[in-house]
Symmetry: C2
Subunit: 383 residues, 2 copies
C-alpha cells in the first residue's frame, strides 16, 4: 500500500518535472478519467438515538469511492430521515454525476461547482463526492488535509460526548458511563420541567461543562431566555438553536440578551446563509452533510470568522470516513461535536480518533486518513 502510493506520487512528480519551467496553456494533456462508484451501507446505532420528536436504531448511509490512476478516495453520505435524503435519493443523484469531462482531480473548484449544479439540495450526496475527491487529491499530494490547509494538529478541540434524551435515572446512568470528555452534550427542547430534569440528572454525577442543543424546541423567546439563564448557572457553555428557524427575530432577541453563545444549526445550511445569520446567532454549527462537504465548510469557517462569529463543527451519525473528513477542519473551530462514529456499532473505517479526554486526534495519513477495515464490505461496489 505504502510503496504503491509512493510509486504513484513519484509518477505524479515526474509529470510535474516534465512541465518544469513551463507555463500552463489552455490545452491540457488527457489522463485516465475519474471513476465514481458507491454502495448503500446502513449504520447500526449502539443505543436508541433520541432527539426532540423522533428516535431510531439505524441511519441510512451510502459509501462512495472515487478512483483515479489506481488511487481510491473514500467518501460518505449520511442521511438522517428528517433531512429529506435517503439511500435511494443519494444513489439516484450519484448516477447522474458524469465526471468524464474532467481530466484532473485537482480542479476541485470546477468539479464541485459542476456537482452542485446538477440539482438543488442533495447536500449529503454532494458531500460524499466532495469527501472522496478531497481524499483522492490529498493522496495525490501525499499529505493529510489539515496540513495542506496549514492547521496544527495540536489545536484540535475535544469533541462533545452526547447524552441522549431519556428518563432521569437512565441519564444519570449514561453520564456515569460516559468517557472523560470535558463537555457533555444534551439534546433539550422539551418542557422546562423535563429539560431541567435532564440537566439536574447530569449534575447529580458530574460538574463537567454541558453543551445544549435545543433542536428548535422552545416555543417562546422569554421562556427560552429563562432556560438559557438557568443553564448558564448550571455550567452550560453554549446553546444550539433555541427556537424554530422560522423565528429569526425571536432568536436575535435571545442572542442579544443571552449569557451563553447561541449557535445556528437548523437555521443554517450553506455558505450563503451566514451573512443573514450574523445578526441573529453568535455562531454556527457546520455539518458536512448539510453544507455539501469539506470545501464549502472551509469557506464557511472563513466567512463566519470574518463576521466575528463562533464556529463549531458538527456531524450526523456517520462512519469514521465522514468524521475524519470533518476532523481535519476542527483545528479552526471553537468546538467540535464529532462523536457520530462513536455511536455506531458497525464502523467500516479506521480514521480520526479521540484521546481519553476527548481531544480529536487527526490521522497523519494523506487525504482524509480514513482506511477501510480489513472486513469492511467494500468489494461489492456498484455504479
Amino acid at each position: 500500500m505504502v510503496s504503491r502510493r509512493n510509486f504513484l506520487r513519484a509518477a505524479v512528480s515526474l509529470a510535474a518535472a516534465g512541465a518544469c519551467g513551463g507555463l500552463v496553456r489552455p490545452a491540457r494533456a488527457s489522463a485516465l478519467p475519474l471513476r465514481l462508484s458507491w454502495y448503500p451501507y446502513e449504520l447500526k446505532l449502539r443505543h436508541l438515538f433520541g432527539v426532540a420528536g423522533n428516535s431510531r436504531t439505524t441511519t441510512q448511509g451510502v459509501q462512495v469511492r472515487l478512483e483515479y490512476e489506481g488511487i481510491t478516495g473514500y467518501g460518505e453520505a449520511s442521511m438522517p430521515p428528517y433531512l429529506g435524503e435517503s439511500a435511494a435519493s443519494v444513489q439516484e443523484f450519484l448516477s447522474r454525476v458524469d465526471l468524464s469531462p474532467f481530466r484532473d482531480p485537482f480542479e476541485m473548484e470546477a468539479i464541485l461547482d459542476y456537482v452542485d449544479r446538477i440539482a438543488e439540495n442533495n447536500a449529503a450526496a454532494k458531500a460524499s463526492i466532495d469527501i472522496a475527491l478531497h481524499d483522492l487529491v490529498g493522496k495525490l499530494i501525499g499529505q493529510p488535509w489539515y496540513r495542506i490547509w496549514g492547521y496544527s494538529a495540536e489545536k484540535t478541540p475535544a469533541t462533545f460526548y452526547t447524552i441522549g434524551i431519556d428518563t432521569p435515572e437512565k441519564v444519570t446512568e449514561k453520564t456515569k458511563e460516559a468517557p472523560a470528555f470535558p463537555i457533555l452534550k444534551v439534546k433539550l427542547g422539551r418542557s422546562p420541567k423535563e429539560d431541567k430534569e435532564m440537566v439536574t440528572a447530569i449534575r447529580s454525577v458530574t460538574g463537567r461543562a454541558i453543551a445544549v442543543d435545543a433542536n428548535q424546541g422552545w416555543p417562546e423567546k422569554t421562556l427560552a431566555l429563562d432556560m438559557i439563564e438557568w443553564l448558564a448557572e448550571e455550567g452550560c457553555v453554549l446553546v444550539e438553536q433555541p427556537m424554530s428557524k422560522h423565528r429569526p427575530d425571536d432568536i436575535a432577541w435571545i442572542t442579544a440578551r443571552s449569557p451563553l453563545p447561541i449557535m445556528a444549526d437548523e437555521s443554517l445550511q450553506r455558505l450563503w446563509d451566514i451573512p443573514v445569520l450574523s445578526g441573529v446567532f453568535s455562531g454556527i454549527n457546520i455539518k458536512l452533510m448539510k453544507c455539501t462537504g469539506m470545501r464549502e465548510a472551509k469557506k464557511m469557517i472563513t466567512a463566519a470568522r470574518t463576521l466575528g462569529m463562533k464556529v463549531m463543527i458538527g456531524c450526523m451519525t456517520e462512519t469514521s470516513c465522514a468524521i475524519s473528513a470533518a476532523a481535519h477542519l476542527s483545528p479552526a473551530a471553537d468546538w467540535a461535536d464529532l462523536d457520530g462514529n462513536l455511536l455506531i456499532a458497525n464502523d467500516p473505517f479506521d480514521g480520526a480518533g479521540v484521546s481519553e479526554t476527548g481531544k480529536l486526534l487527526l490521522p497523519d495519513r494523506p487525504g482524509i486518513g480514513a482506511v477501510p477495515k480489513p472486513d469492511a464490505p467494500g468489494e461489492h461496489a456498484v455504479g
Copy 2:
C-alpha cells in the same frame, strides 16, 4: 534541481509513510529550523510612473528567502512610498521575526498568526514572509498553489495593462504601443476636463475596454457619478475608489446609482474591512502587499464572494516573485490587474507570464513557481 526536489519529496513521503496508521499526538518530532534571510532590491521602472499626486522612477523592494531542509521559498516586499513602509522598516520588521519555535513549515496558520502579531501594520513585510512560506510549502508538497487550492489554470483572467497619466499626445502614443490586452487601465481622478481628455485620447486609437482607477481623486459625489455615467458610455468596465476612503457614505450613494461596478482600493486593507465595505462598494481590489499575503488574500476572496461582492486581484510595482504569488489566486477573481512586473526593467525572477492577449499563464512549477534568473543578485543574502 528536479532530481533533488524529487529526492526531497520522497524523503517527506517516507516520513509520512512512517506515520502511516498513526494519529498525531501533541509531542512532535523536532526538525531543522526555518531560516529567514533577505536583501533590499530597488525596482527600476521602465517608464515614469504617475498617479494622481506623485510620480517616481524607482520602487523600494526587499527580497526574502525562507530555507528549510535545503529547499528555498522566495518572497518579496514591495513598498510604494505612500503606504508607509520602506526597505528600512521591512528589514527592521524581518529582524524581529523568530521562527525558531516552529518546527513544521506546514503550520502556516500558526506561523503567519505569529508574524501578524509581532507588530501592527507592516503589511508588505508580513506578505514577504507569507509568500516565501507558501513557496516553500508548495515545494514541499510538490504542487503549484493554484492546484493545491483546486483552481483551474484555464480560468485565469487577462491582466489589465496600465496607461500612465500623461499629455493626450503621449497617452495616444502609449495606447498605440500597448500590447493587445483586452482591458486597458487608466488612472484618473484629476479634473473632469483632464480625465475626459485621457479617455478621449485612448478612444482615438482603440475601442478596447477601459478600467478606471480614480485613486480617491473626485471631490464630490454628484461630480463622481456624472463622470462614471460618462465613462460607462465610453466603454469602461469598472471604477476603483471614486472618492476618499474617509467618505464611505458618499461612495455608497455612488455605488447605489452607478452603472459600473465600484471597487474598493484605498478603503480596503484586510479581511476585517470587508463586512464594513459590503454595503459601500460593489467589490474589492485585493493586493498582497496591503493584506499581508496569499493566505489572507484567499480568505478575502471567500469573504467577498459570501457577501456577493466582485473580486479583483491587484498589485504594486513588484517583481515576478510577488506577481506570481498573486497570479495563483487569479482564477477565482473577476479581474486581474497584475502588470506590475511588466513595468520594471530589472525583474530578477521568471514566473507567471501573459499570453499575447494578456491572459495570465500560471507557472506549473511547485510553490509560487517563481525562479531566480541566472544573473539575479541572490548571492549576497544577509540577515
